[in-house]
């Protein structure tokens, strides 16, 4: 991780790629780098909706679950479908789900989207637990993610899985950068900062919000598929709970709202924090160390950091890291 600490934004990908032959430990790929990429992508998706367009969603984990299950079901029920087609397909399905749950909440400003996405959070988890069809009719146990084949080549070792995740992340990041600089991306900011003014400028506010919702869903769905297929390697509804949704939200608050690299910085922080805490706790307290306290300590620290960042550095780690660089006009 040290290798990449000070590298930001796109340059990160080059470094992450070049770094591969030097990383000898599978643990680093399995436990840190792969979840880091998946979380970053989900955070990127949420940031498009919450950071840029100003619409806070509390259902990210549900949309990740939709992405994971859509990939699984597409591959299961559509014969001969390549993984690289199923993946964006799952993204599209998640985008549609995002629209369905976004519509009731997006007509108004404020907390309403938070509540309609909470609805998604509970409803989606219920659907996947209740109806066995989504798990291929089998509810007897946890489903192991089927092997991934790309043009006949099986992606199985940690390095291969990591490279696949990295490639997907690179493509989506480039697209996100282009998006936020585009007219649509600028409209996101206009809608976030002042809906009335945006409307006066001729922006179709509801349409812009729905576009943000759909694109965000696409990203989060793909992130969920990567999470399921490359990281946990099981297809199950457990794990995509409300806490997970909050974590993604915390990633973008800490990393920086309305910032592409913020999603990556925040994700790196959130993936590493629990590891640091448990290592640090074990080193400090020795054998008396109770891992239950790590979870509590992590909660308290996270909560405190959220409040501190909202108060002192609303632009997050991203702004902390590069104060000198001309950031987007300070808003919010």
């Amino acid at each position: 991780m040290n290798r990449s600490r000070d590298v930001t934004a796109l340059a990160i990908f080059g470094v992450f790629l070049v770094a591969v032959p030097f990383i000898k430990s599978d643990y680093l790929f399995n436990a840190i780098l792969i979840p880091f990429i998946a979380v970053s992508l989900a955070a990127l998706g949420l940031n498009i909706l919450a950071g840029y367009a100003g619409q806070v969603s509390l259902g990210s984990a549900a949309f990740m679950a939709i992405g994971a299950f859509s990939t699984y079901d597409l591959l299961l029920y559509v014969p001969h479908l390549p993984f690289l087609v199923a993946l964006p397909g799952a993204g599209l399905i998640t985008a549609v789900a995002g629209l369905v749950f976004g519509l009731p909440g997006l007509r108004l400003r404020g907390f309403y989207l938070a509540i309609s996405t909470l609805a998604a959070q509970f409803f989606v988890q219920w659907v996947f637990t209740t109806f066995p069809w989504f798990q291929g009719g089998d509810t007897s146990g946890v489903i192991t993610a089927p092997p991934i084949f790309i043009d006949g080549f099986q992606v199985s070792t940690p390095v291969e899985r990591y490279l696949l995740a990295l490639a997907v992340a690179a493509i989506l990041t480039v697209f996100a950068i282009a998006l936020v600089r585009s007219r649509v991306g600028q409209s996101f900011l206009a809608v976030r900062d002042n809906e009335l003014a945006a409307k006066v400028l001729g922006i179709n506010v509801l349409k812009i919000k729905l576009i943000a919702c759909a694109i965000s869903g696409f990203y989060i769905g793909i992130a969920g598929a990567l999470w399921a297929y490359l990281y946990v390697r099981t297809i199950e509804p457990a794990g995509y709970d409300l806490d997970h949704s909050f974590q993604i939200l915390f990633v973008i608050i800490l990393g920086g709202l309305a910032s592409i690299r913020g999603a990556f910085l925040g994700a790196a922080f959130l993936v590493v924090l629990p590891l640091l805490l448990s290592r640090g706790g074990a080193a400090l307290l020795g054998p008396n160390f109770d891992s239950g306290y790590v979870d509590l300590a992590e909660k308290i620290i996270l909560g405190a950091l959220i409040i501190l960042f909202l108060r002192l550095e609303p632009q997050g780690l991203s702004a902390l890291l590069a104060r000198f660089s001309l950031n987007r006009k300070a808003t919010t």
């Binding site: 100003g54 806070v56 009731p104 909440g105 007509r107 108004l108 400003r109 404020g110 907390f111 309403y112 938070a114 509540i115 309609s116 909470l118 609805a119 509970f122 409803f123 988890q125 219920w126 637990t129 209740t130 109806f131 809906e195 009335l196 409307k199 506010v205 409300l242 909050f246 939200l249 915390f250 608050i253 239950g292 306290y293 509590l296 300590a297 992590e298 909660k299 308290i300 996270l302 909560g303 405190a304 950091l305 959220i306 409040i307 909202l310 108060r311 609303p314 919010t332």
Partner: protein, 295 residues
């Protein structure tokens, strides 16, 4: 159709709704005066119940433990207002909401750090036994809860309507700038509001805790109350009551008559389905005042 069964279901649904209302009132009070949707209300409830139970288990008598916990809750509420929210004044509502989300993590973690993570039993001395009433069974405990909620609403109503503090509260809720201009000290009103919300969290925590045991999941009642706010309207105490009753009723009816046909467990989301229906049809909720946020 078994009418007495239906009536029993309706009554137990309404009584379950009272419990939701009780939590929702805490939300509405804070939202009305300061525009903050306090996600930490659920963790305040957990904190209050845990503190009370732990003090009580230490051997303190009921009332002393109650008063002590109340003092802690009021202090906590005032501190939250001072330390967390005051510096964020004039920030968009969503920022304030996210701050209370962080706050709920601190309170949940802190409460369990101090008092431990095990489940505590809480006995308020009111048996949770069914009371036969004309062949309809109603829990004695539910009736007690309804009584407590009713009393709180009545006291709140009287205080808001007939006292100076209540008048100041209504002025602040009606128009902050105008209230400030007439010389009202908004920070003091906010502090009082947070104190009262702490009290309501304590009462809610005790009632919920007696029913489900005092444990972490207590803080999740916040999630049951958000749909209540949508249904009733974010800024209406009456709305919180009616919304709570409606949510409780819908949940129980659907669970009994629809749930078995679609796999059960629908209580996880049925309140939210109701909230979504309201968002589509009547976005301000039943008693919500303004729709000026709509552009």
């Amino acid at each position: 159709m078994d009418w007495s069964f239906l009536i029993g279901v309706v009554i137990s649904g309404l009584l379950a709704g009272v419990m939701y209302s009780l939590v929702a009132i805490g939300f509405v009070l804070i939202y009305k005066t300061s525009g903050v949707l306090n996600f930490a209300q659920g963790s305040m409830l957990l904190f209050a119940a845990l503190t009370f139970v732990s003090l009580h288990e230490e051997g303190l008598p009921f009332w002393i433990a109650f008063v002590l916990t109340l003092a802690i809750m009021v202090l906590l509420g005032v501190l939250i207002e001072k330390i967390v929210l005051r510096p964020l004044i004039n920030q968009p509502p969503i920022t304030l909401f996210m701050a209370t989300l962080g706050l709920s993590y601190i309170i949940e973690g802190g409460a369990q750090f101090v008092w431990g993570t095990q489940v505590h039993q809480l006995d308020l001395g009111i048996a949770d036994v069914p009371l036969p009433l004309n062949s309809i069974l109603i829990s004695q405990f539910d009736i007690f809860c309804a009584g407590v909620a009713g009393a709180i609403v009545a006291v709140l109503g009287v205080v808001l309507q007939y006292t100076r503090v209540g008048l100041a509260f209504r002025a602040a809720a009606f128009d902050q700038y105008a209230a400030l201009n007439t010389g009202l000290r908004l920070p003091r009103i906010w502090a009082i509001t947070w104190g009262v919300a702490g009290f309501i969290a304590l009462v809610g925590g005790l009632l919920w805790g007696a029913r489900t045991g005092v444990q972490f999941s207590l803080s999740l009642v916040v999630l049951k109350s958000l749909p209540v706010l949508v249904v009733g309207g974010f800024d209406s105490i009456i709305g919180a009551i009616v919304g709570g009753l409606l949510v409780g009723l819908t949940e129980t009816l659907m669970e009994v008559y629809v749930g078995p046909f679609i796999g059960g467990g629908i209580d996880q989301w049925i309140a939210y389905a109701l909230a979504l229906a309201f968002l589509l049809i009547k976005p301000t909720g039943l008693f919500g005042q303004r729709s000026v946020e709509r552009v």
